[in-house]
Point group: C2
DNA sequence: TAATTGTTTGCAGTGACTGCAAGTTTGTCC
DNA sequence: GGACAAACTTGCAGTCACTGCAAACAATTA
């Protein structure tokens, strides 16, 4: 039987984090596209083949996404106070993840890294899509909406959008803290981004 | 000097579209990840090396994004009627692109293809990011907002989000036309996704 | 026709990634 | 402690994407 702290299990964790750390460090040093898997494996003192036993892609190792975040988010969603509105719940979730990342001291470094590299962004997107699916399902359930309903999906996606926009804007205007930008984004999403919206009024057949 | 209809120019266009068509056809037949560049090149009757003279990645050939779409969108943005609200403009733009894609008869096929393949989605995202940047800049100018302002960026990104959600939902509920889903999404974004949003009211230190 | 310029192609090489078939470790049972 | 099974690591051979270079080739221009 597998005991919690078996040697095997511990060694696996060690190898995994050694690889992840080496990957992140090297990516920060040399730029993510200049690092080869060979270097990462070497730095972690394992063979290249072993690297691929742990991570399907180079990018996975650099991101080394923490599955706990999604888990915590889903849990938060399930146990949200009765009166809390859906977007409010999402707001809390986002801020919690943010806090975790910050405590890592890796938010900005990793964030920049990700934004600077297409291939990293790619992997993040992929994970995000899957995350969003799960979050949407959970939120829909909580809201008691039918499967075809747009609102839960839109709220989850829009929250993600707010995050992306906040990070992006923070790059061009570093004086405003991310949380401020984020909150402003959420406010807009909540109350509406455009009170004058109305394509029906002037449909003059604009080619 | 280059005359409009030089032989050279025409041949290039031919090769380009031959490659793009072969890529799309094969991707639809065998699944996008089962197609090799070699097959595509062979089907278009050129060398593999030539393929890479035209497209930087396999995915680019399959997507064969039409740069005219972005161009038209930017133009529409610049020439929007004075009284038209920003999200309304985005609505028109999205519907125009949609119409173009539909007239291609490729919307659904290509759409499915894209959504089914991570690597395709990746390339689309990359293009989208760049597109969004340009659209945001144009919209911000039109709205007369300062560079750090969130609203233009959020409106553009949110419009993109609405599209993605619409496509996604259309997959699970094919009975609702994409345009309906899209419009509902835009309505929500315009008027607000959550009237009860308010993280400030019950900040009881949810850990 | 000859010179110029742009395009295609083959070739050699790097790097990501996979399957397979040994080795090596670790956990278990006696 | 030793034997056995399961899990982990590794090297190797191979495929595929993609790049740079230099030679061959075709279109354009003088």
């Amino acid at each position: 039987m597998h005991v919690e702290g078996g040697l095997r299990e511990r060694k696996k964790q060690q190898t995994r984090s050694a690889l992840a750390e080496a990957a992140l460090r090297l990516a920060l040093e040399k730029g993510p596209d200049q690092v080869t898997v060979e270097e990462i494996a070497e730095a972690a003192d394992v063979s290249v083949r072993t690297f691929f036993n742990y991570f399907p892609h180079k990018e996975h190792a650099i991101l080394a996404r923490n599955p706990e975040h999604l888990e915590a988010a889903l849990e938060r969603l399930r146990t949200a106070p009765a009166g809390e509105s859906p977007l409010t719940t999402m707001w809390f979730i986002v801020h919690e993840v943010l806090r975790d990342l910050e405590s890592d001291g890796q938010l900005s470094r990793r964030g920049e890294l990700i934004m600077s590299s297409p291939s990293l962004l790619y992997q993040l997107m992929l994970s995000s899509i899957d995350d969003e699916r799960q979050l949407t399902a959970a939120l829909r359930e909580r809201m008691g909406e039918p499967p075809g309903s747009i609102r839960p999906a839109l709220i989850v996606s829009a929250a993600g959008t707010a995050c992306r926009v906040a990070v992006e804007l923070h790059k061009t205007a570093p004086d405003r803290p991310i949380r401020d930008l984020l909150d402003e984004g959420f406010q807009l999403l909540a109350r509406g981004t455009d009170p004058d919206f109305g394509p029906d009024h002037h449909q003059k057949g604009h080619s």
